[in-house]
């Protein structure tokens, strides 16, 4: 009866040396849902994302993708699982030795062994989807502005038609208008693919725009979870302080 969640984290813990970063994170994301994790810098947002992606191995706890445990996968099963994922990195993380179209087609050519000509066509199509002209395809990432790099990175993240897309601070470092453009693109792309989305951000405007549900992380724990509409009357002093950006409150400096 109950649907299998796309992502289910249970009691995930991770420490670096003596520093506890995740102190028992429990979180579920249902298929087709867009969850945004909000929280201050250094509260464990990025580590949560990297644990799900398998870039960091958690010390304890379980992470299931489509009901399948992923914390004990071997390298080959992990590669297989990666086909389901798309990721938009904070700084774009475009490969600067490759041209724009090669970046977008990278997952198709290297990961899925598509022939370069077909992959090139798809890359041009994805460029159009993020509002860029085909001429951009032959440039190198260093020749693009920050906003254009973000768009190309988004095109790369959606090119392999992933099941689950992760967005790491998608609007950080962009001007307000470009940030809104990216937010719109994210909403459109996720809807278009029918994908499940998990984002982390501290930009509340962005969170309200792209989220169905919001979870707030503080000191390595999820301290609030709810629908985006409930955000303004959560009754949680931490959430209130964060969404209004107040210096005073339960979250110390």
């Amino acid at each position: 009866m109950a649907i299998t969640p796309k992502i289910a984290m249970r009691d995930v813990k991770k420490s670096f040396g003596e520093k506890v970063v995740l102190d028992g994170v429990t979180l579920t994301v249902n298929p087709g849902e867009s969850l945004v994790i909000i929280g201050g810098s250094g509260t464990g947002k990025s580590v949560t994302l990297k644990c799900i992606l398998g870039l960091i191995k958690p010390d304890e706890g379980s992470i299931q993708i489509d009901g399948k445990e992923t914390t004990d996968l071997n390298a080959r099963e992990r590669d297989e699982l990666m086909h389901k994922f798309g990721m938009l990195f904070q700084g774009g993380a475009l490969f600067d030795s490759l041209r724009v179209w090669q970046n977008i087609a990278f997952g198709l050519i290297q990961g899925q062994h598509m022939n370069p000509k077909d992959a090139h066509d798809i890359a041009i199509q994805k460029l159009a989807q993020v509002g860029l002209k085909p001429q951009v395809a032959d440039l190198f990432p260093a020749e693009l502005s920050g906003g254009m790099q973000k768009r190309v990175a988004l095109a790369r993240a959606i090119a392999t038609k992933p099941d689950i897309i992760f967005f790491d601070e998608p609007t950080t470092g962009l001007d307000p208008i470009m940030a809104d453009v990216i937010n719109d693109l994210i909403v459109d792309c996720v809807k278009d693919l029918g994908a499940t989305a998990l984002s982390i951000t501290h930009d509340m405007h962005s969170a309200r725009k792209i989220a169905d549900h919001v979870a707030m992380i503080y000191a390595g724990k999820i301290i609030w979870y709810g629908k985006v509409a409930e955000l303004d009357h959560s009754g949680n002093p931490y959430v209130d302080q964060f969404i209004h950006g107040r210096a005073e409150g339960p979250i110390g400096k």
């Binding site: 992606l53 990195f89 993380a93 475009l94 899925q112 790369r156």
Partner: protein
Amino acid sequence: MSDKTAPALNGSLLLDMCQGVGHSILKSLQSIGVMSIFVGKSIVHVFTPPWYPKLLLRQIIDIGYYSLPVVGMTAIFTGMVLALQSYTGFTRFNAESAIAGVVALSVTRELAPVLAGLMVAGRIGASIAAEIGTMRVTEQIDALTTLSVNPYKYLIVPRIVAGTLMLPALVLIADIIGIYGGYIVSIYTLGFSEGSYLTQTWDILEFNDVFSGLVKAAAFGFVVTIMGCYHGFNSDRGAQGVGAATTYAVVSASILILISNFLLTKVFFQ
């Protein structure tokens, strides 16, 4: 009162010192462990598909072909200096005829592989560490993983294979250029006869002299590229992190070259 506190103070000082020593020993053991795992993993990935022949070719050109001028210059001047220096020494004993042999043996056995290795450590080790370090810092390595491409196979394998294959080729060329450097000085400034210099060179050189140099070169090529990859791959954040990774890569590669040179010499000539 001072009598009472003094031993306690001494005790804590001693404890602090022991702690400091223990800490650094543990830390260095840990980094040796991490490095060994990295090297082992990299070697396993060399022998398992998928391979990236295009990337390998690019590294072969970068590490092999583009290092030729640097290695060639090093070799020719080393050969020339060797001839000059041994001449000043050997004339005292009327042993000028040994110059050709000294040049040929020193170049092929020691100087070409070691100096080429050190030059390549500066040229290639540094650039590998800086490139991979920057990729680490800008999350490009994580991006590779999320696009289902194994960073070991894509970044590290082409570099260590190219380094291990190309350094022997470079050293073989350096052998020839180095001996030629000695030849030029001997013929044109020291007044040797061309024929006898070349005959003396041929007579003294054995297969093992050149071969040992090439084996050393392969080992140095591996050391330089794996150190560049390791330090780049584990680079700390920021420009400072990448800078430090580059320094560590060159320094550790240079020291390992000198150590492994001694060990390999012991194996070959004892």
